[in-house]
Amino acid sequence: MNLNKRLFKTLGLSWLALLLAGLLIRWLFAIPSMTVLIDRSYCPADQWQQISQTYTDLYHQHQWRQLHLKTVVLFSNLGQEVLSSPPIPTVIQNLSTYGQSNEQRQAQVQKAYPKGRLLQCRV
């Protein structure tokens, strides 16, 4: 009976230690989380190519668990769209860009996502 008690105690403490170690490792080696803000106002094809390439790099890091793409926000001066899961790079590559860039909208989006990484081209 006494032996069982000690055994359970050791087992419980071991599990607790393991859990704490896990949490510590997770905290120490946490994957950085990121929100990507994509300005889809008119962008010439060659410049958009660069933007989609940057997104592709981020997406690959997300796949390799070096980075967690939390949210992707597409915005233009006609509106904005929040994508809860990151789209595959070809979606961004084939995205149509249109209209004037809007600094006011950009400021609003950046205010809502202060740590967001902004991808945009300036024409």
Binding site: P44, N77, L78, S96, Y98, G99, Q100, N102, Q104
Partner: protein, 357 residues
């Protein structure tokens, strides 16, 4: 479209009017191209779109319509959840008198104005949805564009409306003996001549006529100056005579368009069927019904005179088209958008439809 371009130029923030220079910028052009890519279906008028939507409420996510149309459409079964998103400049229809109006015309206008502003008529108008909405009250709409800007916006639309897709249009014209009545055929000829000037280069137009039997007058080919001359020549040769092999003409037109579909499946295919009578010879509706259904061609019959209205409507409905009536009462709406060089109901309709595609 003006509102979209105005917003895309960033004027929703500063409230300034759109300029011609902005219209020509890649920013404005890119908005227009993106907008065109989202369009599921185009029809000559929004009333046609509305009819298609009533037939199939799942067909569109949204269509452009006046507030009054929204009020009536919301009462239809299946449209209870319809939401209205206001945009654009107010579509007011002012009553206008001119200095050259005669005394009796002026008097008539004044009486009409008194009638429309009477309490009972105002009440009725309100019931029909003619009321100042919050959007109108707030006055946060784009400033009215100048005539020059509107013309430039129209040109932009005209040049780019096809969105990179080729439009194939077969004109199937009745040349049976009855087209001799009331100068119907000369009116159609005038309309075709005028409307052909509005066709974008590169789009394809063909002409098929039918009386006792169908005749291919002009094969579908990329439209240019030479094709236009060929079309003019073909139009000038038309003579009214014989019976009405309507479906034989339709079959030839469809066959030509379907042949083109093989090489350009992404094209837009239209057939304008102009007839003034019932089929009296050749194929019948039952024989050709399935061909129309699976043709991928949208058919717009223009009824002129004593036609089998029910059958024409059935033809149009198969492929989401509409019947256009060339009667004086019905044509006024279309004639507003057409040139004043011609003023016959059917010629205005033909012009209107060709300009629309």
């Amino acid at each position: 479209m003006y509102t979209l371009l105005w917003r895309s130029a960033g004027h929703a923030q500063d409230g300034k009017p759109l300029t011609i220079a902005e219209l020509q910028s890649p920013q404005a052009n890119s908005v227009f191209s993106t907008f065109q890519q989202q369009i599921a279906l185009t029809t000559p008028t929004y009333l046609d779109l509305k009819q298609i939507w009533i037939r199939d409420p799942q067909k569109f996510q949204a269509i452009v319509m006046a507030y009054q149309s929204y009020v009536t459409l919301k009462k239809q079964p299946g449209f209870e959840q319809l939401a209205y998103i206001p945009f654009g400049v107010p579509e007011t229809s002012p009553m206008v008198g001119f200095e050259w109006n005669t005394a009796s015309e002026r008097e008539a206008l004044q009486k009409f104005a008194a009638f429309t502003t009477s309490a009972s008529m105002q009440q009725l108008a309100k019931q029909q949805g003619f009321e100042p909405t919050d959007y109108l009250k707030q006055g946060r709409f784009p400033p009215l564009p100048s005539g020059k800007v509107l013309k430039a916006a129209q040109s932009l639309w005209k040049q780019r409306k096809d969105g990179g897709q080729t439009v194939y249009m077969e004109l199937v014209v009745d040349t049976s003996g009855s087209m001799q009545q009331n100068n119907r055929l000369p009116a159609v000829q005038a309309a075709l001549r005028f409307a052909s000037q509005q066709i974008n280069q590169g789009n394809q137009v063909g002409l098929v006529t039918f009386s006792d039997r169908p005749t291919r007058r002009l094969s579908l080919a990329p439209f240019n100056k030479l094709e236009q001359k060929r079309l003019f020549f073909a139009i000038d040769q038309l003579q009214p005579d014989g019976a009405t092999a309507l479906y034989d003409g339709l079959a030839i037109g469809l066959a030509d368009l379907m042949e083109k579909q093989k090489t350009d499946p992404k094209g837009k295919f239209y057939l304008l069927l102009l007839t003034d009578g019932e089929r009296t010879d050749g194929l019948n509706f039952t024989q050709i019904k399935d061909v129309i259904k699976y043709s991928g061609v949208r058919i717009y019959p223009i009824a002129y005179g004593e036609v089998n209205q029910q059958e024409l409507e059935a033809i149009a409905a198969i492929r989401e088209g509409s019947v256009y009536e060339g009667t004086p009462e019905k044509y006024k709406f279309y004639s507003r958008t057409c040139s004043k060089q011609i003023s016959d109901p059917v010629s205005d309709l033909v012009t209107f439809l060709i300009q629309s595609f």
